[in-house]
C-alpha cells in the first residue's frame, strides 16, 4: 500500500529556503493505519502546505506491506519521516505534532537561538550547533 502524493503548487512561498528549483522528497514510514500514522500524515501535509507549497512530494511507506524497506532507511521507530531530498538525509520520528520541532528536524527552521529567517541547508551540522 504505497501511496504517493504530489500536491500541485498553489502559492509562491516567501521562504528563501525553497528558492532552489529542487523538489523536497519526503518519505513517511508507517505501520498500518494507526492513530499515530494518520496523525503524522495529517500533520506533515499541513506543514508542507504551509512551508513548502508546491515543492514537495510525500511518499508513504507502509512497513506492514513492505517490511524489507525498513532496512534501507534504518527505520526503527514508527512513524518516521525521512527527508530524502534535498541532502543530507534527515529524520523526524514521532507523530509530528510539534510543528516547531518538525521544522527544525527538516531543517526548514534553524535550531533554537538562531534567527528565524536564516536557513542553512548546506551545513546542517553547524546550523544545529
Amino acid at each position: 500500500m504505497k501511496r504517493e502524493r504530489s500536491e500541485p503548487q498553489t502559492l509562491k512561498s516567501l521562504s528563501t529556503a525553497a528558492a532552489a528549483s529542487d523538489v523536497w522528497q519526503l518519505r513517511l514510514y508507517v505501520a498500518g493505519k494507526t492513530a499515530k500514522s494518520v496523525a503524522a500524515f495529517e500533520n506533515l501535509k499541513r506543514l508542507c502546505e504551509k512551508h513548502l507549497p508546491g515543492k514537495y512530494r510525500i511518499e508513504v511507506v507502509d512497513l506492514l506491506v513492505h517490511p524489507q524497506l525498513a532496512k534501507g532507511d534504518q527505520i526503527v521507530a514508527i512513524p518516521t519521516l525521512v527527508r530524502k531530498l534535498p541532502p543530507p538525509i534527515r529524520k523526524v520520528i514521532g507523530d509530528l505534532s510539534n510543528v516547531e520541532r518538525t521544522l527544525v528536524g527538516l531543517q526548514l527552521r534553524p535550531a533554537k537561538g538562531e534567527s528565524d529567517k536564516t536557513i542553512d541547508r548546506r551545513e546542517p551540522g553547524r546550523a544545529r550547533l
Binding site: 499515530k36 521507530a77 510539534n98 518538525t102 551540522g125
Partner: protein
C-alpha cells in the same frame, strides 16, 4: 493414553533447552539456553558478549541446523564478520547460504529529531521480516541498549523493550540479548528487569596484572545450573567455558599399568610400572634429573604409540628437545609424528584460572594419554599458594577423570622434601623422590619411591645415572659410612670384583693340581697294564707252543697205533678232555 500423559508431564517438567554449542556452557546450563525465550548476556566492554552471541548463532547453524538472525546495533555487518573471522567463524559464508542474516541497525542521533508519540514498530517489523525470511530459530540483539543513546524518550524505549522481549517469546525464538554492565546493576538500563528467564554475566578481571575471564549464570528460571564463576577462554576457536569446580570424586580406577620407560624403575614399582590414570609426582632439588625422568615417561608413552602432552613452564620446546637428545631421547621424532606436543609458556603469562582453562582445552584438543607438567611449583608465581594449591587439586582431578596419566615435577628447596609438598602430596598416587647424595667430595643422584598407591614397590634407594643412552638406576652400597654412590660405589664394586677374581683363580689352581694328579695316576695305571699285557702275551705264546707240541705227539701216536691196529675211540676221548682244561686255565 496414560503413557502419553506421563511423557507430556516429563516434557513439561524439564525446560526445553537450545544447546549453544559452546564448550562447557552447555554443561553448566544443563543443556543450553532456555528454548524459545530470551537470555540476557551482560558484561563490561571487551568481556566477550558479542563473541558469545555470535558463536551461539553460528553453532546453531552449523551444529544444530537452526538458522539465526544477528541484529547488531554497534557494528556493521562487515565489521562483525571481520572481527569474528580471526576466531574461525565465517559469517559471510553462512549469510551467503541464507542460513544467517545480519541486520545492522544504526540510529544516528545527529540526523534525528523527535516530535510527538512514536513506537519501535519499525524494529519489530525489521526483526520479524528477518526471522521470517530465513526461518530463524535463534536471534541475537547486540547491544539493544544502544537505542537509549539514539532516542530520547526513555519511557517509550522501556515499554517497547518490554514488548519486544514478550514478542520474542511469542515468536518462540531462542534469543540472546546483550547488555553493557552498569553501575550497581547488571546492565546500564536495567534490561534484567525485562529478560527474566536466564541471565549470564561475563567478567574480565585483572588481579595482580593477570587477567582472567569469567562467566557466571546469575539466574536461570526453571532450571538447575552451576552457580560458580567459571573461567573461560577466548582463543582461535572462540569461547570455551570450563566447568572445573563441578568435578566430583567419581573417577574410575584403571588396573592397566604403563611403563615408565626405565625398566629398573618399573621393577621398583613392582614390575609393570605405573597405573594408567594415576598421578605421579617427581620431586627433587635442582639438578636431580626431574625433567629427564619426566621426558623418559613421555618417550615411553610415545613408544607405545600414545599421545603425550608436555607442559613446560621453564624450558622452551627446542631447548628441551636438545637437552633430552644428550641423554639419548629423540623427542623430535615423536613431535614429527604428532605423538608429542609441547606447550611452553611462562607461568606468569596469565592467571591460574586461565592456565587451568588452557590445560582443559589443550587436553580436549589433543586427547593425550599422558600429560607432563614441568614443573608445578612455578604456579605459585601466578597466584597465591592457596590458589595454586586449589588449582593443582582441580588439575589432578581433571586428569584423573580423563584417565590420563599425569606426571608433575616439583622443585624442592632443601630441608625435608616431604614438607615442601605436603599440600598436594595427599592427592598424588606415586611419589618419586630424587635426591642429592653428597659424599667424599662428590655429588651424585639418588632416587627412591616415597609412596606408590596400590602396588608393592621397592623401598630401596637407587643411584640415578644420566647416561648418553638414558637413565640408569644402580644399586647403591649401604656401607658402614652410609650409602655409597658414584666413585665410591665404583671402588666398592672394583674391590668386590677383585675378590671374586682371586677366588676364581684359587679354584682354577686347585683344579689344575687335581688334573695333574689324575694324569700321573692314569699313566701309572697304563704302565702296569702294559706290563701285564706283555706277561699275558708271553703266556699265550707258551700255551700255543705247548699245544702244538701236544698235537704233534698225538699225531705221531695215532700214526703208530694205526700201524699197530689199536682201538680208536679211547684215544679220541683222552685228547678232547685235555683241551678243555687248557681253555679254563686261560680264563
Amino acid at each position: 493414553m496414560s503413557k502419553a500423559a506421563t511423557d507430556n508431564d516429563r516434557k513439561n517438567r524439564s525446560l526445553p533447552k537450545a544447546a549453544t554449542g559452546i564448550q562447557g556452557l552447555d554443561e553448566i546450563t544443563g543443556g543450553g539456553l532456555p528454548r524459545g525465550r530470551p537470555t540476557l548476556v551482560c558484561g563490561g566492554p571487551g568481556s566477550g558478549k558479542t563473541l558469545l552471541a555470535t558463536q551461539f548463532l553460528v553453532r546453531g547453524v552449523t551444529e544444530f541446523g537452526e538458522h539465526g538472525v544477528f541484529m547488531t546495533f554497534e557494528e556493521t555487518a562487515r565489521d562483525l564478520a571481520r572481527n569474528v573471522r580471526s576466531l574461525g567463524i565465517d559469517l559471510e559464508k553462512l549469510v551467503g547460504q541464507n542460513k544467517l542474516l545480519v541486520d545492522y541497525v544504526n540510529v544516528e542521533p545527529s540526523e534525528i529529531e523527535e516530535t510527538g508519540e512514536y513506537d519501535l514498530e519499525g524494529l519489530f517489523i525489521r526483526l520479524g521480516h528477518a526471522i521470517d525470511s530465513i526461518g530463524a530459530r535463534r536471534v541475537v540483539l547486540d547491544t539493544i541498549e544502544t537505542l537509549f543513546g539514539g532516542l530520547d524518550n526513555a519511557a517509550v524505549l522501556r515499554s517497547e523493550l518490554r514488548r519486544l522481549f514478550r514478542w520474542l517469546k511469542d515468536k518462540e525464538v531462542t534469543a540472546i540479548v546483550t547488555g553493557e554492565r552498569g553501575d550497581g546493576m547488571l546492565t546500564r538500563h536495567g534490561l534484567e528487569e525485562y529478560v527474566s528467564d536466564c541471565v549470564i554475566v561475563l567478567d574480565h578481571r585483572v588481579t595482580e596484572q593477570l587477567s582472567t575471564r569469567r562467566l557466571r549464570i546469575v539466574k536461570y528460571r526453571g532450571s538447575l545450573h552451576g552457580t560458580n564463576e567459571y573461567p573461560f577462554l577466548i582463543d582461535e576457536n572462540g569461547i570455551s567455558v570450563l566447568p572445573i569446580t563441578s568435578i566430583a570424586l567419581r573417577q574410575k580406577a584403571s588396573d592397566e599399568r604403563v611403563s615408565t620407560g626405565i625398566p629398573r624403575l618399573d621393577a621398583m614399582l613392582g614390575g609393570p610400572g605405573l597405573y594408567r590414570g594415576s598421578s605421579v609426582l617427581i620431586a627433587g632439588t635442582a639438578g636431580t634429573g626431574k625433567t629427564s625422568l619426566a621426558a623418559h615417561i613421555a618417550d615411553a608413552a610415545c613408544r607405545r604409540g600414545e599421545r603425550c602432552l608436555y607442559f613446560s613452564f621453564e624450558e622452551s620446546e627446542s631447548q628441551l628437545v636438545r637437552n633430552m637428545r644428550s641423554i639419548g631421547l629423540n623427542l623430535a621424532s615423536w613431535l614429527k609424528r604428532n605423538l608429542l606436543r609441547f606447550h611452553a609458556t611462562r607461568p606468569t603469562a596469565y592467571g591460574l584460572e586461565v592456565h587451568l582453562a588452557t590445560f582443559h582445552k589443550l587436553v580436549s584438543d589433543f586427547q593425550p594419554r599422558v600429560v607432563i607438567v614441568d614443573p608445578i611449583t612455578t604456579f605459585t608465581n601466578a597466584g597465591t599458594s592457596a590458589q595454586a594449591e586449589s588449582m593443582l587439586m582441580r588439575l589432578i582431578d581433571f586428569f584423573k577423570s580423563q584417565q590420563i596419566t599425569a606426571v608433575f615435577t616439583s622443585l624442592t628447596h632443601g630441608g625435608n622434601p616431604e614438607h615442601n609438598q605436603a599440600r598436594i602430596s595427599s592427592i598424588i598416587d606415586t611419589w618419586l623422590l630424587l635426591l642429592d647424595i653428597e659424599l667424599a667430595g662428590e655429588r651424585n643422584r639418588g632416587m627412591y619411591i616415597l609412596k606408590s598407591r596400590g602396588m608393592a614397590h621397592s623401598n630401596q634407594t637407587r643411584e640415578f645415572l644420566l647416561t648418553d643412552h638414558g637413565i640408569e638406576l644402580k644399586d647403591v652400597y649401604l656401607g658402614p659410612e652410609g650409602v655409597l654412590t658414584g666413585s665410591m660405589r665404583l671402588a666398592q664394586e672394583m674391590c668386590d670384583k677383585s675378590a671374586v677374581l682371586s677366588r676364581q683363580q684359587q679354584i682354577e689352581r686347585r683344579q689344575r693340581e687335581l688334573d695333574r694328579k689324575r694324569q700321573a695316576l692314569e699313566s701309572q695305571i697304563a704302565a702296569q697294564r702294559a706290563q701285564f699285557e706283555a706277561e699275558e702275551d708271553e703266556l699265550k705264546l707258551l700255551v700255543d707252543q705247548e699245544r702244538t707240541a701236544a698235537d704233534v705227539v698225538h699225531r705221531d701216536r695215532e700214526e703208530m697205533s694205526r700201524s699197530r691196529k689199536t682201538d680208536q675211540p679211547g684215544k679220541a676221548r683222552g685228547s678232547r678232555s685235555r683241551r678243555t682244561t687248557l681253555k679254563g686255565g686261560r680264563r
